[in-house]
């Protein structure tokens, strides 16, 4: 059953060639085989087997089952699952057990998806390499000397190693799409507000969205749309109905940003393959046109001002009193806060809290925080303008392939700048997908991204299926 999509798995189950128990056992064996990659923080083996058995019994008895029966998923360690631990890969949430289940996950469970375990990630989803975790590094699934990407690095590797059908990650600035690109799998982030954030440990609340990683477009689309829809528990979730059918058929139009596609620092293989894909699209009768986007160099600065500001506020809740870790040295109330937070957070998280505190502090608030919010509007308007005349924006997922583990650890700015092509979607709230494109001469995978206007997930899924199937 290796590498099969859910349709095929369910067909085999219906024909009596496969049981849900066998599906779960297959993935557990794959997890066992990939232990050196440090993908899972915790595997829910016994529980998954029991759920599989219960499903098999239901199927045997001819009872009705949810539409996702036979599917096995991994969840990033920032998604709450009642009765299970969740830590955001941080010492500060040591021993924390979820008291409820994230709405998006609940919608999958209601359709009989089985959770096999929780995956490693960068602490509080802050990172681009899965190197900032209290549980250590998760290396790339294709080349273990290189980074998996981040922050949903292990989520991407969990799919790449066939340890589950799909993985749930979160995407604040590219955290689903970039590791998907680095590991040669699909990663999709929905429109801001399309999927509920209730039960997701917050990083940057006006950016965060749950996303799906998988090997098959049908699965990614199905899971994403099953999670989508308004949730009374998340007032930023949209009340727009979830559209599952694409309205565009046949020829569509793509825009590409000249400065991106012809940038001197874009990796040679990525440039070549991206141009080849655009040529192909054109030869198939689609419109491919050049657009200008002079705001490009302001994306990453605006993104880091706003996300760190939101993070410094969101992470204020870790006080050592109500949950998680408390410092042994906390002998006063001030030290309960200060020592707990200093010992509990890793260095990247502290760096971002400090920066966020700075941009929000009196005297600098307008110059940095308000300024970045204004730039966010300019960027959003400029993107909106592109979609007035084009269906999709096409651009590389990353300017480079996965780097060697440890290569950029002393240079946060270098790492931050590598987010340039993914943050566009989060700054503007639009949906985006990374599809596996090709590999460089050393076999390192990279992806191509498609973005579209808000709430056009169905169109994005349809065009991705078209791209992948031919």
């Amino acid at each position: 059953m290796k590498g099969q999509n859910l349709n095929n798995i369910q067909a085999a189950i219906r024909q009596g060639e496969l049981s849900v128990t066998q599906v779960v056992n297959h993935y557990l064996a794959q997890i066992e085989d990939s232990l050196p990659l440090n993908i899972y923080i915790e595997v829910f083996a016994e529980e998954a087997k029991k759920q599989a058995q219960a499903l098999d019994e239901k199927l045997a008895a001819g009872e009705s089952v949810g539409k996702l029966y036979g599917s096995v998923i991994s969840i990033k360690d920032v998604i709450c699952y009642e009765g299970h631990q969740v830590t955001a890969a941080s010492k500060i949430l040591e021993g924390f057990t979820s008291q409820f289940t994230a709405t998006a996950l609940q919608r999958l469970l209601d359709e009989d998806a089985i959770v096999i375990g929780r995956t490693n990630c960068d602490e509080f989803a802050m990172g681009s390499a899965n190197e900032n975790s209290v549980y250590g590094v998760t290396p790339n699934g294709v080349n273990s000397e290189r980074v998996a990407g981040g922050s949903s690095g292990a989520a991407a590797v969990s799919v790449q190693q066939d340890t589950c059908l799909v993985a749930l990650g979160t995407d604040t600035g590219g955290s689903v799409r970039q590791p998907a690109g680095f590991n040669g799998v699909i990663g999709m982030k929905p429109t801001y507000g399309r999927v509920s954030r209730y039960g997701v440990i917050a990083y940057g609340s006006s950016f965060d969205q749950i996303g799906v990683l998988g090997q098959h477009m049908e699965d990614v689309g199905e899971f994403l749309l099953t999670m989508a829809g308004e949730d009374p528990m998340d007032c930023t979730s949209s009340s727009q109905p979830v559209k599952t059918e694409s309205s565009s058929q046949g020829q569509v139009s793509f825009a590409y940003i000249d400065e991106v596609m012809n940038h001197e620092k874009l990796h040679g293989a990525i440039a070549t393959s991206s141009h080849a894909l655009m040529d192909r699209l054109e030869s198939e009768g689609h419109a491919v046109s050049k657009v200008q986007f002079p705001l490009l160099k302001y994306l990453v600065p605006a993104y880091y001002v706003l996300t760190t500001a939101e993070a410094s506020s969101n992470l204020g809740r870790y006080d050592g009193i109500r949950y998680g870790y408390r410092s042994e040295a906390a002998d006063s109330i001030k030290n309960v806060y200060q020592k707990t937070r200093s010992e509990g957070f890793g260095s990247e998280v502290k760096r971002r809290i400090m920066l966020g505190t700075f941009v929000l502090s009196s005297g600098y608030y307008d110059a940095y925080y308000t300024k970045a919010q204004k730039v966010r509007r300019l960027v959003t308007e400029a993107i909106h303008e592109i979609f007035e005349n084009h269906d999709f924006l096409i651009l590389p997922t990353t300017p480079n392939v996965a780097w060697k583990i440890g290569a950029h650890q002393d240079d946060p700015v270098e790492v931050y700048l590598s987010d340039i092509y993914t943050v566009i979607a989060n700054l503007t709230g639009i949906p985006a997908i990374s599809l596996p494109l090709a590999t460089d001469a050393d076999g390192n995978p990279f992806g191509i991204q498609l973005m579209s206007k808000k709430f056009s997930e169905a169109e994005l899924i349809a065009v991705s299926e078209m791209l992948i199937s031919t």
């Binding site: 950016f207 600065p301 937070r341 308000t370």
Partner: protein
């Protein structure tokens, strides 16, 4: 904009963090590098631009004022690092006698 030791101390205080000496030095260097990158935003004229604050600008009707989604007391206290048998969060003594 340059971040100096006094500002680092202020930020530590505001964010309830206590950095080790080496950590402080590193963060000072990093923050200055990051701010150098961020300062490019100054080049953009945003005089007549409204800040974008909410990513979902749909109108949301307030819900009925009914208490919902409560946690039982034991569940609420279950994750506390230190709690009393009577079911309270415990912190070091705050007030003198």
């Amino acid at each position: 904009m340059k971040i100096d030791d006094a500002l680092i101390s202020k930020l530590e205080r505001l964010s309830r963090l206590e950095l080790a000496v080496e950590e402080r030095a590193q963060i000072k260097v990093d923050l200055n590098n990051i701010l150098q990158m961020v300062d490019t935003l100054e080049e953009l004229n945003t005089d007549d631009v409204e800040p974008l604050i909410y990513m979902n600008e749909e109108h949301k009707a307030p819900r009925e004022d009914i208490i919902s989604n409560e946690l039982p007391h034991e569940a609420a206290i279950a994750n506390a690092p230190v709690s009393s048998e009577s079911g309270h969060f415990l912190v070091p003594k705050v007030m003198d006698k």
